[in-house]
């Protein structure tokens, strides 16, 4: 097999001069799949940006070492221009990658850039390959998360590059979207296309990877061959799990903890809701009740109505009909009462901030700062005068949890709180939830994360096209695991 990529990086980093990648070397031959795994913030994405020449050519960063990508050095500006023809890169967040109004336009844009003639039949065929033929002219805003991700793939590989790089290809996807993307990567692998996958959910790729690289704190910890991975599978998965990499199926606890109270904190009865701009009901006769200290977890497909339910319970939208009772409040509305009753934490933490320093954010909440100690988050004391937007994504997310806690509500609702978090950070969040509910507070979570469901749920619900049904935690886990049981 011909060598496609040969990487020897001594140091690489951004404009501040601090190296974020150190001593990384690997090679990839044609038709091979390299899996790069490591915890959040370990430098996986930076490594991709380094080997494609983005760090040096677009971000004013530096790379010390050599990179040979099919005979070119992407670090040199004149050769960087050749990279797009050889490599297709699918970034983590489709919202930060898609620029055109429809899938047809998006795929055409790549071809136009690279000097190919735009032939509609060819574009439709590439959309057909990712199952988007029928949505070729639909506005991109109306595509699901899985569809957007598949569109990113189509737009990145329409010109048939020799190497395709996927950065966290399944982040933020529901199990169905997840399954579609993993199946597609496997299909590309069978077609003999060279692939690099960067993931912390390693378990879906370990069986098909030719090489596995483990990276922590920017260092290459291990670089393993397929034979080694298969012969030391158990040992390897255990070691990776210790590093925060998701490598094994979750195991259900035999019995959940006894609930601290029999008093109902949240009661939703026959709740119906439709948006004013639509005639179709998004929530159809939803019933839900949670006791004090309970953790309810709602699972379901993207667009099934989970987020809408959280927002209606939060009082953001008025129900079309039905009853919502939070503590002593009936059909809550905005205002003083609601502020102490419910707090909704959106998936994007930036939405929640209103002040220009962390200290002011915390001081503006209902409860006094002195009521809390920040032992679990010592970094907070070091960034009190910083703008919340200068924190890392993980820190911003954590700050949003702290704000929720300081509002001292009866119930906190989280929308996909662990999206993009590795196992280590997920465990920290689980500890947060357990601590919060130990004081008789209630938590309601909408998620696709089977590990979170397994770790915290005392009640589980499946939302299917606006209809909510209560199930056992085991049933909910199977519901999420079945589509990805590849």
């Amino acid at each position: 097999m011909d060598l496609l990529l040969d990487v020897k990086i001594l140091k690489a980093g951004y404009r501040d001069g601090r190296p974020v990648i150190k001593d990384v070397s690997f090679s990839l031959s044609e038709g091979e799949l390299l899996l790069i795994v490591g915890p959040s913030g370990s430098g996986k994405t930076s490594l991709i940006l380094a080997i494609t020449g983005v760090i040096t050519n677009l971000l004013n960063g530096f790379v010390e070492g050599d990179i040979d990508l099919y005979g070119i050095n992407p670090l040199r500006p004149e050769e960087f221009l050749k990279v797009p023809k050889l490599v297709g890169v699918v970034l983590q967040d489709p919202e930060k990658q898609l620029v055109m109004p429809t899938p047809f336009d998006e795929v055409s844009f790549t071809l136009e850039n690279l000097g190919f003639k735009v032939v509609p039949e060819f574009i439709m065929n590439s959309l057909k390959n990712v199952g988007l033929e029928s949505k070729a002219y639909s506005p991109i805003e109306y595509l699901s998360g899985g569809e957007k991700k598949r569109l990113c793939i189509a737009a990145s590989i329409v010109h048939k590059p020799r190497l395709v790089i996927f950065d966290e290809p399944t982040a933020n996807l529901d199990p169905w979207g997840f399954s579609e993307v993993v199946k597609y990567i496997r299909k590309l692998r069978e077609e003999g296309i060279s692939i690099i996958v960067v993931e912390h959910k390693a378990r879906y790729y370990l069986p098909i990877a030719d090489k596995v690289m483990v990276i922590t704190d920017g260092h290459q910890r291990f670089y393993l061959s397929r034979d080694y991975v298969l012969s030391h599978y158990e040992q390897l998965t255990k070691m990776l799990e210790g590093l925060g990499v998701d490598t094994s199926r979750p195991k259900l606890l035999a019995k959940k903890e006894v609930l601290p109270s029999n008093l109902f904190e949240v009661v939703v009865e026959d709740l119906w809701f439709k948006y004013p701009s639509s005639n179709e009901y998004v929530l159809k006769g939803v019933n839900l009740s949670l006791r004090k200290g309970e953790v309810g977890v709602i699972v379901g497909r993207n667009g099934s109505g989970k987020t809408t339910l959280l927002k209606v319970i939060s009082g953001f939208y008025k129900p079309t009909r039905g009853l919502i009772k939070i503590g002593s409040y009936d059909n809550i509305k905005y205002g003083k009462g609601k502020r102490t009753a419910v707090f909704y934490v959106p998936q994007e933490p930036d939405y929640i901030f209103v002040h220009n320093s962390v200290l002011k954010e915390l001081q503006s909440c209902s409860r006094k700062l002195s009521d809390f100690n920040f032992n679990e988050t010592p970094w907070i004391n070091e960034v009190l005068n910083e703008s919340p937007y200068k924190l890392s994504h993980g820190q911003r997310r954590w700050l949003s949890y702290l704000i929720a806690k300081l509002y001292d509500p009866y119930i906190v609702m989280f929308d996909e709180p662990t999206a993009g978090l590795d196992v280590r950070l997920l465990k920290q969040f689980v500890a947060w939830v357990k601590d919060f509910t130990s004081n008789g507070k209630t938590v309601l979570i909408a998620t696709h994360d089977v590990r979170l469901l397994y770790e915290v749920a005392t009640s589980a619900f499946i939302m299917d096209n606006g209809v909510l049904r209560q199930v056992t935690v085991e049933e909910a886990v199977s519901y999420l695991e079945e589509p990805v049981g590849l």
């Binding site: 940006l49 494609t52 983005v54 677009l58 971000l59 221009l81 990279v83 797009p84 023809k85 490599v87 890169v89 970034l91 967040d93 919202e95 930060k96 990658q97 620029v99 055109m100 109004p101 429809t102 336009d105 055409s108 844009f109 790549t110 136009e112 850039n113 690279l114 000097g115 805003e141 737009a155 990145s156 701009s277 927002k311 939060s314 953001f316 905005y334 609601k338 502020r339 707090f343 909704y344 959106p346 994007e348 930036d350 939405y351 929640i352 901030f353 209103v354 002040h355 220009n356 503006s364 937007y389 704000i403 509002y407």
Partner: protein, 233 residues
Amino acid sequence: MIVVKPLTLFIYGLVITVLAFIARSTQQLLILSLVNAPVGILLGFRRLRVLIILFLLGLVGLFINALVFANNGAPVLDLQVITVRDGALISFLNVTLRLLTILGAALIFITQSNVRDFIKSLEEELGLPKDVAYTLAVGLRMLSILERDAKEIQLVRVERGYRKYPLTPSGVSSFLRPLLSLGLERAVWIGIATELRGFALRSLERKGFRVGVSDVLIYSLLIIQCSTLFMFH
């Protein structure tokens, strides 16, 4: 169905904006805003409500500005703390009509243009550099994402006990800060993604400027509006 080329709409929007700045009298501005604002707001109300809301929020600042810098002439209203004079009202009205005209033309352009066709026509027909054309096109694409962000921020503001629509300068700043932060992060990644899809290699062949019947209608409407500047001079 009438199909107008994105380039025609772009030129229309650009010329109307220039006219709005050149026009000095209230009559001239009234005619321009009456032609453009209702059409634009009607077309953009569902998709781009956020722009209309931001415009309405801006009116508060506009009125304060008029009170500070143009409050002269005959007294119109005595509010105890301040007397509002006709100079302030006339300048407030003129600037409002000017902005309404620009808003209307912008909404007509945004709602009736396809981003990819727009970039292509700017490059192929007008010969504009690809970076300028692309920046304009991505800006348009981002409007719908910006609107979604703005709605989410409004909800969470209310939850935290703040006004849904900020009225004070610090309120506006707290509203815009997350919008800008998210926008900046997106802009960086979109730039990287676009370069990795070969944008630097993009080079479209220059084609001539061709005009259809619907384009002629739009240009005629534009000429009529230009003539109002002379009629009410």
